[in-house]
Amino acid sequence: MFPYEGMIAETVQLQGDGGDWVSAYAARPLGTTGPLPGVVVVHHMPGWDEWSREVVRKFAQHGYNAVCPNLFHRFGVGSADDVAAVARSQGGASDAQVMGDIDGAVRWLKSLPASNGKAGIIGFCSGGRQVYLAACSVPSLDAAVDCWGGGVIATPEQLNEKRPVAPIDLTERMTMPLLGIFGNDDRSPTPEQVDRTEAELQRLGKTYEFHRYDGAGHGFFATDRPGYRPEQAVDAWGKVFAWYERWLAD
């Protein structure tokens, strides 16, 4: 007899910021009653795209309930790329709204019958920046993974109505362990910016682990882009799963 393996992946509706119903893509392992930890996947500026959905299914493959809320839900109805085009032209969703939607995704994960009551978060690029913010402002989360989030450090000119605070300035409020994955050839964040973020985490006594990879730049997990670095990506995915095993297991 061979072991059963399966998952269900589907779009769902969950209550996000302000009680709004927003669309989300969710994947859950089948053949188990759990209890399982959950992971919120934060998409990047190109939107609720194929890459984000692949990541959601990857977590289900590894035994997690996973969900990626559509942070651009309120920008209109259409294909993910058309909606993302409108969102990008308007500067994306506000930090406050994104935090509300992430909190809603956490509540959705923890309400599942197979939940173990814990949930982590992972985000890439602009999603990495939002993960850093969530680690400081969404206490319902239990562990965070920031993959090359740029803009954690921001100059006053880079702040605006939608992004009023530099995430690094909220570090004191961080309530969960943070894993950081970075490429040393990245220009946003630069290695120097990663140094400054790490110094702030150390100064405030936060629980964190940073892994920096030589020979890798920005977005080195993306298998369909020239920047993909298989050796570094495989190692870093191992670090991600080890992190969640450590902080989200029963």
Binding site: P46, A85, V86, R88, S126
Partner: protein, 99 residues
């Protein structure tokens, strides 16, 4: 990284999308992660009719080098157009109040 840095140009003209021709009002231009092109970053132009509504969009995602070639080609085509149709172009500008 993903940025919200975007350049916008007001347009007058037409574009053809999946549902046929439509009027264009704006181009949104940025250099960032593409949705489809197998590039880490791309010069992205969205030619749109209504900037606030999804759809009715002609989108291109170009490598840096090909975007530079496109800019040169547009410039060359406009220069040729000025040489060949200077009188027409001046008439249009006068009608539009541009001198």
């Amino acid at each position: 990284m993903c940025t919200d840095i975007i350049e916008k140009a007001e347009l007058s003209g037409s574009g053809k999308g999946a549902e046929g021709w439509f009027g264009l009002r704006q181009a949104n231009v940025y250099y960032d992660h593409p949705f489809h092109a197998p590039l880490d970053h791309a010069l992205i132009v969205d030619f749109v009719q209504d900037p606030d509504t999804p759809g009715h969009r002609v989108a291109v995602e170009l490598s840096f080098e090909s975007a530079e070639r496109l800019i040169a080609a547009i410039r060359a085509a406009l220069d040729s157009g000025i040489d060949a149709h200077a009188q027409d172009i001046q008439s249009v500008r006068v009608l539009a109040g541009v001198h």
